[in-house]
Symmetry: C2
Subunit: 166 residues, 2 copies
Amino acid sequence: MHEQSERFIERMGLQFESDGLPRTAGRIMGLLLIREDPLPLDAISRELGVSKGSCSMNCRLLESGGWAERVSFRGDRRDFYRVAPDLSLRSLDAAQGRVKAFLGILDDALETLPPDLDVGRRRIREVGDFHRFLLGELRGVRARWAAMEDRVSHSHDSLNTEMEAQ
Amino acid sequence: MHEQSERFIERMGLQFESDGLPRTAGRIMGLLLIREDPLPLDAISRELGVSKGSCSMNCRLLESGGWAERVSFRGDRRDFYRVAPDLSLRSLDAAQGRVKAFLGILDDALETLPPDLDVGRRRIREVGDFHRFLLGELRGVRARWAAMEDRVSHSHDSLNTEMEAQ
DNA sequence: TCTGGCGTTCAATACAGATTGAACGTTCCG
DNA sequence: CGGAACGTTCAATCTGTATTGAACGCCAGA
């Protein structure tokens, strides 16, 4: 493997780690981004020098988080993984989910915290106002990106949709 | 301390942890949000049952990350901490910073990766396009929130600006 | 019904990161 | 000059989490 590829893969690992995700998951994403075809589990394991078990765990994590997709090819019993085709929209959805979760904490606090903590409650309400604003903005961002992607995919077809995976 | 307060503080800790930050830092943020006045380090340590050293570390982390502010009062040698007054804008700036960092990785990869990885390079370019779009959107979000905050702070003064901290 | 290849699971292990508690430097006051 | 009250630092320790490697179940084909 090229030194440049390893560098990119390693940086993806660190990027994921700084977001609180396993470094190996980030490395796998880096590998999947670079490689042209979907990769089977054992190839990922071999190329990254990571045990099969860890690859299995991290690939399933990537799949459940919407980062990667599991695909199969007829005549081959193995599981292949590739980058999720709608990765960008997925990450926007995930961001919305995180904001919603935080809003849940704040709203619950406003309901349950005693009234004598009036300053604290007002502060929490302000933080909530911002995150409600943020949630609306995220919806707008999502819609705009979806519209742009739509327009582009009419002129030249997207990368993943032309692959024959079953 | 009320059970409801502890619940909120603990949830803030978990929220921070899911973002890859120390749980104690989140707990401190929860405490600072609830309490009316800025808190000295030893009060934080006592109320959270966390050692002074850990509080010192985490408070400085919060300060350097723009979450909290260190303030002092004349006649008192202690350091006090409170929630940063421009917390929302700060978090938007931090988000922009993270996107920029990731864009740096992607652009570097495009420069250094060999040309024969054309599919991978194209995929990386697509991810980069999305994040450049995201960066522009974030600027818009920031501007709109700043405008809203401005309009509001004209009618009734903000919380922190009326405190006499030196 | 076997055999081999595949993904998953799980207990043991390794490791990174947070916490502790004591030691230290500083500053302020008696 | 002490001495007390701070915040900081740092090595030792603890703890949660990721990784490993072997065992397992499953399925397809011989």
